[in-house]
Amino acid sequence: MNKDRSISSEWIERAAKASGWEAALTRRGFLKLSGCALAGLAFLNLGEAYGENAPLVILDSAQGVILADPTRCVACGRCELACTEYNDGRAQPSLARIKIARAVNFGLAGPTGGEAMHGDWGDGLVVQGVCRQCPHPVPCATACPQNAIIADPQTGARVVDAAQCLGCRLCQQACPWGMIAFDEQAGVAAKCTLCHGRPKCVEACPAAALRYVPWRDLSRDGSPTRPTLSVVPPETAKACLDCHVTAGTKSAKEP
């Protein structure tokens, strides 16, 4: 059963006000956005008006984000276990929506040897993997052909609607930081939900290496070699063209 995915004017107004969003897009020259244009979009209810059911994935920014300090991480993995035990009733680091195990031994670059190696076998540094709760365009949500990654009404966390998820794993491909887990038992994707504003991982850290702080855009950090959007299904890509117009042209859909 498909939920109504049309864009409410309230949503768009909130999107426009969201911290950093408008500025970031303008700076990158992708799109000239104005409150007027947004209002226009809302008025026309264009999300549905395009007829192809192409979803326009614009999510309000989250309220908070988990900040991880690698210099304090003691590699115990209690965050991963709190995530899955208290949320899913099972201890399963592979399902955790915060990622430690992959970085504990050698750091993210793996068992390369040499001076630059992190982790227990290297310089000791454990760089935690945390969900950035990305601003628009949210890579995982944009990649989802089911539009199953939505903003949690309470916290704004990008969450997987398990009822919509088909288990295609495109979101896993799309996340530049490898933060989408997959619940093999249920056959659906899983990602950080911010635990209704009280993240279990933050509470569980014995070294105060994790903090839950007001959201800021952390999506521009990380590996420069990774594209911001790895996978965009054609359906979604069409919707992007509604706003991301080639310079000097007008959108075909614009009145």
Partner: protein, 705 residues
């Protein structure tokens, strides 16, 4: 396959290296009565390894067992117990276990196995690859001769960076009884490395993506974990800080809770300052710094961070960075370990052993860790180091070792306490090079055998802390009077029991401890202050029994007996009480099957009694009291001649210890004359088949008459 319950993941993996056959069996069907850990190990040895088997025979088996709480967020789990015929047990190898933390145990569970049984012997070097249901025996010829670090790196490149490798080094390859297996940099199990080498098994590498299910209510589980965190202290469950602070009613300078606000992990980039409330659950990891506790306050500046096992908030393996050692000794500037293995290098030197805030001592520790944890050489709880000191200082080596070999050893470096001495000595032992290297690689018993030195030369000398059967004391009368002595008589290696010492050394004032003791063991007389002992009594024997059973229980559950039990807590509002039924509460919620403390202690008693049965069977005699439960003469002496059971001495009295043993055997329901269980006692504990076999072999007290 639908998971029917929690805690256990369901399968025991069995790998026959002789035939290459890989099979699984149902954990609950075969081993439920023994939970896990050494329980599974003892059962496999009882059922499948006949008396008379040697540790390096293909017929010996290696049982890597976790427990139902391993891999969960229960604080201080992550332990694996490796049971086998223990090669350093002298004069005859008997059943024993090595224990390791790190991340191996949890990974094995996530891969879907509660335990791994390795049997047979490969015809060429191999390593075992476990990736969930996929298990393969792979060629390790290219790894043979490599240290543990290189082996781990090479296998991780092949299997993936998130696998955990438990590998042996050169010591294990050379079938050194003193070889050990290591996972996750520094987490070692002594004595079993050579047994792996004997099977041509270089490493076991595990990768797992599965789950350990919690059968009970999620919220109840979360609440219990948080409660447990609230009653945690620091390393060894020391529940008061070592420093005075307005945040705590008591402090005790001997406590391992050294994380004082204002100290810092000086080698972190940037340094991490310790601050705030010491009771904050989000700062538990800062309470313990083993390097500071053992090496002195100076170690703060070399501390990168705490490290340790899966899910443990007490990070007892301190990670150190000491740049000077690279230039001076050509070794990496990073090192990590805890306790005796942290002090591995320092302890060889007369001038450095026990020395704190001494740069040479710290450097010796760095050199020692670097070599021992790569070559895979065990210390036998520091006995290796005490042996070398006694052999050298006592003139034995000069007298017994060939002059050419003696001259080849850089004794001048030893005499000047130069850590560079270790660069010669430790590889010599791991490679079993020359007479000295070979003898030391075989353990203390080999010193007696090879050089015809009477065991009594060690057993009478309190400085050796030698106990019996080739092994030293491990928290005996120096900590816990009769209780410690009883515990140290029971195993075939050093007693790996911490239940007793973790209580008596928890840092609380004696009157508080006695109040707690009355509630748990029925009398405040169940314990004394260390070095101020009163005569033996029933309650001390009860506490010794409780300590041993909790040790076996912790191994079986996969929780750490170096940290538990949690009989006391830092909580003033609880009168500093911990929770003695914590283990049963966790197990009940994890498995979904309620088991109370008494029932669980009965399982532990079954496991412990099976260890007794195996020892009796393999020794081929029933008179354990006389032949096995031995107390060395030094225990009954005092260097300054103080009378036993007076304040200021740990000297014990022979008649009093005899009485203590009587009380203990009675508490166990064993025959007092022999110290052995009757056939009926085996049956009461669910070991009827074991009792029958022993009775038929005239190895029960009544059948032997």
């Amino acid at each position: 396959m639908a998971v029917s319950s929690g805690g256990f993941v369901g399968k025991v993996l069995r790998v026959d290296l002789s035939t290459g056959k890989i099979t699984t069996e149902n954990t609950r069907e075969r081993y439920a009565a023994l939970l896990g850990g050494a329980g599974i190990g003892y059962r496999v040895l009882w059922d499948e390894v006949p008396a008379g088997t040697g540790p390096f025979d293909a017929a010996n088996k290696l049982v890597f067992a976790t427990g139902p709480l391993v891999g969960t967020s229960v604080p201080c789990n992550g332990r694996a117990t490796i049971t086998t015929l223990f090669p350093t047990c002298w004069p005859k190898p008997l059943v024993g276990s090595g224990h390791m933390g790190g991340h191996f145990a949890a990974k094995l569970k996530y891969a879907g196995y509660d335990a791994l049984i390795v049997e047979g012997k490969a015809d060429k070097p191999v390593w075992l690859m476990i990736r969930n249901a996929r298990v393969e025996i792979r060629d390790a010829r290219h790894l043979w001769g490599s240290g543990i670090r290189r082996t781990t790196l090479a296998i991780s490149q092949e299997l993936g960076p998130d696998c955990v490798v438990a590998a042996i080094g050169q010591a294990g390859e050379n079938l050194a009884p003193m070889g050990m297996v290591i996972n996750s940099v520094s987490h070692s199990a002594g004595g079993v490395g050579g047994v792996m080498g004997g099977k041509n098994l270089k490493a076991v590498a595990v990768q797992g993506s599965g789950a350990v299910r919690i059968a009970g209510d999620k919220a109840a589980w979360e609440a219990l974990v948080k409660f447990h965190l609230s009653i945690l202290g620091a390393n060894n469950q020391h529940v008061v800080p070592s420093f005075p602070t307005p945040q705590a009613e008591y402090y005790n300078p001997a406590s391992r809770w050294v994380g004082q606000p204002g100290k810092r992990w000086g080698a972190a980039k940037p340094p991490v300052e310790l601050a705030g409330n010491i009771h904050d659950p989000n700062s538990i990891a800062f309470r313990t710094n083993s390097a500071v506790y053992f090496l002195g306050d100076e170690a703060w500046k070399y501390t990168v961070r705490g490290n340790g096992c899966t899910a443990c908030p007490i990070r007892c393996h301190t990670m150190l960075k000491m740049p000077s050692v690279t230039a001076k000794y050509g070794i990496p500037d990073m090192g990590q370990n805890t306790c005796v293995a942290l002090m591995f290098g320092r302890s060889f030197f007369k001038q450095l052993a026990g020395k704190k805030n001494n740069e040479a001592a710290m450097e010796a520790c760095m050199v020692g860790m670097h070599l021992a944890d790569d070559l895979g050489l065990w210390s036998n709880y520091g006995q290796l180091q005490r042996d070398l000191r006694k052999l050298y200082e006592g003139g034995y080596l000069k007298a017994k070792l060939g002059s050419k070999e003696y001259a080849s050893i850089p004794w001048d470096k030893y005499d000047s306490a130069d850590p560079a001495f270790l660069l010669d000595l430790i590889p010599r032992i791991a490679n079993r090079q020359g007479e000295l290297g070979d003898v030391l690689s075989r353990g203390t018993g080999a010193i007696f055998d090879h050089w015809s030195i009477p065991e009594s030369a060690w057993a009478k000398d309190h400085t050796t802390t030698y106990w019996k059967m080739g092994h030293p004391k491990h928290h005996a009368n120096e900590d816990d009077g009769q209780c410690g002595v009883i515990i140290n008589t029971q195993y075939n290696r050093d007693a790996q029991c911490h239940s007793h010492t973790n209580f008596v050394r928890n840092g609380l004032p004696l009157e508080v401890q006695k109040k707690l003791a009355a509630a748990i063991w029925g009398s405040p007389d169940a314990l004394d202050a260390p070095g101020d002992y009163t005569p033996a009594n029933v309650h001390k024997a009860q506490r010794a029994k409780w300590s041993l059973l909790r040790k076996e229980l912790h191994d079986a559950l996969g929780v750490c007996n170096w940290m538990g039990p949690w009989a006391a807590s830092p909580l003033r509002e609880r009168g500093y009480a911990g929770d003695d039924s914590l283990e049963s509460k966790f197990l009940s919620l994890a498995t979904g099957q309620t088991m109370d403390r008494e029932e669980l202690d009965r399982v532990a008693e079954r496991i412990f009694t099976l260890h007794r049965a195996l020892t009796i069977r393999d020794m081929g005699r029933v008179d354990m009291r006389a032949a096995h439960d031995i107390v060395p003469p030094w225990v009954f002496e005092d260097p300054s001649g103080k009378a036993a059971l007076t304040k200021g001495t740990i000297r014990m009295d022979p008649a009093d210890i005899a009485k203590a043993m009587d009380y203990f055997y009675e508490a166990m329901g064993w025959d007092k004359a022999t110290g052995a269980p009757s056939q009926a006692r085996y049956a009461e504990l669910g070991l009827a088949d074991v009792g029958e076999t022993l009775a038929a072999a005239k190895l029960t007290p009544e059948a032997a008459k």
